[in-house]
């Protein structure tokens, strides 16, 4: 069942269009990420759902209730939408204690004082914050503040919880732990959540479905696996992982495969909808699919290795093939000079 439905949403700041017709559905118990570069409109979409931005066209439904309808001029104010929102900055009220921050939503819902006490304590305990109830926000660490913000959004059981870059204010190490913790929490509590993020790894780890936004429209949507393994556009392919790009000319297209030609090399790859025979093409392959080979063979090239970097769990090498720079990982160190690299044809997309 759809908890949240957005249809053909348009939003403009002055004369600058931010959302240009976005449609999406969030089902019960599902986590959907809004992914995209900065300026793609992902935060604006989330804020429009929350009632903090005014779209001018389209509609938004929460469950069965219409909260925005451009045609009818209907716009339900933020406080009447009954959503939970976790802000990027956490937006904890600095003049209220942790317990009061969490209790505020319940107080507004006229829950009895005794009930508020138990529910707040339960929410805080679930997030291992029980002992911090009487502290003020500025006395907490970043990670603790984040959990208070989540507790505050969850405590009144909203049907949908919105999260705006929930992890971006944490430092790198804590972020990975928080990511795992948050995914577990969402699954355990069977939340329906819409999460904004600009980090593709975070979106894949946290969500059941990803909506990739580009310039105010949805570029592609699907499960993390679909997005990563079968990108439909160059933008999606590029955004979803670390890649090598090989510009060239498309020499041949047949049976879902295409032959890309460059100066002194020819490579077969999977063709995409946009691949045009005889036109310019861009080949793309994920870094981790590159293989160092011992000699010449099918779909192989021979670039020159110029720099190697040790990353701890692996080596990263930088190769030059004419004007093009390529990167590849290996487990062991490699000597400088020419090496053969295999580009597996099923992992190589020609756009």
């Amino acid at each position: 069942m759809a908890e949240l439905t957005v249809e053909n949403l348009h939003l403009t700041y002055g004369t600058n269009p931010i959302l240009k017709g976005v449609s999406m559905v969030l089902n019960r118990g599902e986590v959907v990420s809004l992914l995209g570069p900065s300026g793609s409109g992902k935060t604006t979409l989330l804020r429009a759902v929350g009632g903090l931005e005014s779209p001018h066209k389209g509609s938004i439904r929460i469950g069965e209730k219409v909260v925005f309808d451009g045609e009818r001029g209907l716009e339900v104010p933020a406080e009447a939408r009954n959503l939970g929102l976790v802000f990027q900055s956490y937006a904890l009220w600095p003049h209220k204690t942790v317990a009061d921050n969490v209790a505020f939503g319940l107080k507004l819902r006229k829950v009895s004082t005794g009930d508020i006490g138990t529910r707040v304590q339960k929410a805080l305990d679930e997030l291992s914050l029980g002992h911090l109830a009487q502290r003020f926000p500025h006395q907490l660490s970043g990670g603790q503040q984040q959990r208070v913000a989540i507790a505050r959004a969850l405590v009144y059981n909203p049907p949908v919880i919105l999260m705006d870059e929930p992890l971006s204010n944490l430092d790198a190490k804590l972020r990975e732990e928080a990511r795992a913790w948050l995914r577990e929490l969402i699954v355990e509590m069977q939340l329906s959540a819409l999460v904004v993020t600009h980090d593709q790894a975070e979106s894949m780890a946290m969500s059941d479905r990803i909506l990739l936004l580009n310039n105010g429209v949805i570029e592609q949507q699907g499960t993390p696996q679909q997005m990563y393994d079968t990108p439909e556009t160059l933008f999606t392919a590029d955004f979803m992982g670390s890649n090598n790009r090989l510009p060239g000319k498309v020499a041949q297209v047949q049976d879902g495969h295409a032959l890309l030609e460059g100066a002194g090399w020819k490579l077969w790859g999977r063709s995409r909808a946009s691949t045009r025979n005889g036109g310019d093409g861009t080949g793309m392959i994920r870094l981790e699919r590159m293989r160092v080979a011992t000699g010449p063979g099918d779909n192989r090239i021979e670039p020159e290795l110029t720099t190697s970097m040790f990353l701890g769990d692996k080596w990263e090498h930088i190769f030059h093939l004419g004007e093009t720079t390529l990167r590849a990982h290996t487990a062991a160190a490699l000597a400088k000079g020419r090496h053969w690299l295999e580009i597996p044809r099923d992992s190589f997309w020609v756009f």
Partner: protein, 574 residues
């Protein structure tokens, strides 16, 4: 790559001592200018006669005299009453206006803002005078209302403590407004949005989130308004006089004539009493300011926020704004503008027949008045530039240094804030009389400029340091890392970066100097006339026509500054 290492180029010898010398000199001069006059007041208050009197002795006689004077206690009581009343009016009204302007979608509200701020740029002397000629017993509006409704007496009176508290309260709304609206601006909109999403109505958000968070700023401005109330001079001089209502500053002013001989020791004792009230308030303010910053540490990103739709409330909100602007700005200023072109006004006078340029003709035939106008412009334009240069030097002396001297500057700058202009002018008069080498300067405009610069030190330093704080420390640190000394960084990196801020400060200081009046009252002498002091003296002499004409000229001067500021988008507040 086989690159040959390049030999490092050492920075040329650092000229740090030069900067240190300048810093020491700036601090020394400022300390003398601030503390010299104050010490003189304190010293004088402990003498039994004026300091030039050979029979003077150390003693507490002056204090004994004023504490036995019933008028002193009445004045103190009136001051406290008016201060309390105006605080109770200005704080809620200023906060409400700030909320309407910062948070709601009231149409045309940007257009209103300069008008809300006008009372803080027009001399209180001029405004009070405006209220008298517009709404006094035979004011324009009084006469019109009486004729329109056919009533004998207007339903208001100006010459009471309550009326003074109301007018002072209204004219000090801008002081609260600037702090409240800055606090609302700085308040991350996300904490308010979070409350909306949690289910709170706009009113609830305003009362439970916004208000508690701007409370420190409101308290700060309440203290400010209260001590400005203790310092009131022009308003009670104009409105209190007819009924003989004295406040602290007017009591001090009247003391000059009380004994028939210069009673400097008594005036000094009153001055010390005033400072004894205001200085703790200034320290309290400083303490509150730190409280106001407490909440700023956890601040969300100040994103654009959807304005609160007022709906049907737009009308009451617009009515409130319009009433405030009408009563506080339009009434007194239109009163003066009319009065300046009328020499003969009362019941039954036809306004269109009474219009004349007589007053201006008189003003421009009298060398003293011409000198007053020229001096006022001179002290604002040239003096303002010099003042900004001085303040900037002080700013650099304390900029990003955390040593004892910087803390000393912090407190030094606060001191003049506690000293009302009237007292500062008196103190400078004594300095010029006390130190023979300075005496020749006493009859030059320099004396007025120096007093103005010291009186407005705290205000000006806020302008300068807010400019300085906008320069990211990395830009200066980058300068040091490539080998520039502090002096070079100040002159070649920081100074060019704050250029626009300094121009804006110059403009604001110009307006403040055009507006100032009380500081020059005691310094008034042939050669040092400025419009503000001239107005006080002419008002005492009852030359209403001239007062009206000079007031209008004064408003025009401030208006020119205001127009330039608006044209170049100078922020009228920090």
């Amino acid at each position: 790559m086989a690159a040959t290492p390049v030999e490092a180029i050492e920075p040329a010898g650092r000229r740090l001592p030069a900067f240190a010398t300048w810093r020491a000199l700036t601090i020394l001069v400022t300390a003398m200018a601030v503390l010299g006059p104050l010490s003189l007041i304190l010293y004088q208050s402990l003498l039994t006669a004026p300091f030039f009197d050979p029979s003077k002795q150390l003693g507490l006689g002056a204090y004994e005299f004023i504490f036995r004077d019933a008028d002193f206690w009445k004045a103190l009581r009136n001051s406290l009453l008016i201060s309390t009343g105006m605080t109770l009016i200005a704080v809620p009204l200023g906060a409400l206006l700030a909320f309407v302007m910062e948070r709601t979608d009231l149409p045309g509200k940007r257009w209103f803002e300069p008008f809300i701020l006008v009372p803080s740029f027009v001399s209180p002397m001029v405004l009070s005078f405006g209220f008298v000629v517009a709404a006094g017993p035979v004011g324009f509006y009084t006469v019109w209302v009486q004729e329109l409704f056919g009533i004998e007496q207007a339903p208001w009176g100006l010459y009471s403590i309550a009326a003074m508290a109301v007018i002072a309260g209204l004219t000090h709304v801008p002081n609260v407004y600037v702090y409240a609206s800055a606090a609302l601006k700085n308040l991350g909109s996300d904490v308010e949005e979070a409350a909306r999403v949690a289910g709170a109505s706009p009113l609830r958000v305003a009362l439970e989130v916004s208000l508690p968070l701007i409370m420190p700023s409101l308290l700060f401005s309440a203290v400010l308004v209260f001590f400005l109330g203790i310092e009131l001079f022009g308003l009670p001089l104009v409105l209190g006089d007819p009924e003989g209502i004295l406040v602290m500053a007017t009591y001090l002013y009247k003391l000059t004539n009380k004994l028939g001989v210069p009673s400097y020791h008594l005036m000094a004792a009153v001055a010390v009493c005033i400072v004894a009230i205001t200085f703790p308030l200034v320290l309290m303010q400083r303490h509150l300011l730190q409280g106001a910053r407490k909440y700023a540490t956890i601040k969300g990103k100040a994103g654009r926020m959807k304005e609160l739709p007022l709906g049907a409330w737009a009308w009451p909100a617009a009515a409130l704004l319009a009433t405030f602007v009408f009563v506080t700005v339009i009434v007194p200023i239109s009163g003066i503008a009319l009065r300046a072109f009328v020499t003969n006004w009362g019941f039954g006078v036809n306004l269109s027949e009474a219009l004349t340029l007589e007053s201006f003709r008189f003003v421009f035939h009298e060398p003293t008045h011409i000198r007053a106008i020229l001096n006022t412009i001179l002290v604002g334009v040239v003096g303002g530039a010099l003042t900004v240069a001085w303040y900037t030097a002080i700013g650099f002396a304390g900029h990003r240094r955390n040593d004892g001297w910087s803390r000393f500057i912090d407190y030094l700058v606060l001191v003049p804030r506690a000293v009302p202009g009237l007292l500062a002018g008196l103190a400078f008069l004594w300095v010029f009389l006390f130190f023979p080498p300075l005496t020749p300067l006493r009859t030059t405009i320099f004396s007025v400029w120096l007093a103005y610069s010291v009186v407005w030190l705290a205000y000006g330093m806020r302008l300068i340091s807010s400019s300085l704080m906008q320069v990211s420390p990395e830009l200066e640190e980058a300068g040091r890392s490539v080998g520039a000394s502090r002096g070079v960084i100040s002159l070649q990196i920081t100074l060019p970066l704050i250029r626009t801020g300094l121009m804006a400060s110059w403009l604001l200081v110009f307006m403040i100097f055009e507006r100032e009046y009380s500081t020059a009252v005691y310094l008034l002498a042939p050669g040092t006339e400025v419009i503000g002091a001239q107005l006080v003296s002419l008002w005492q002499g009852g030359a209403i026509d001239i007062v009206a004409a000079l007031s209008l000229i004064n408003i025009v001067l401030v208006g020119v500054g205001l127009a330039i500021a608006l044209r170049f988008g100078v922020k009228l507040r920090d």
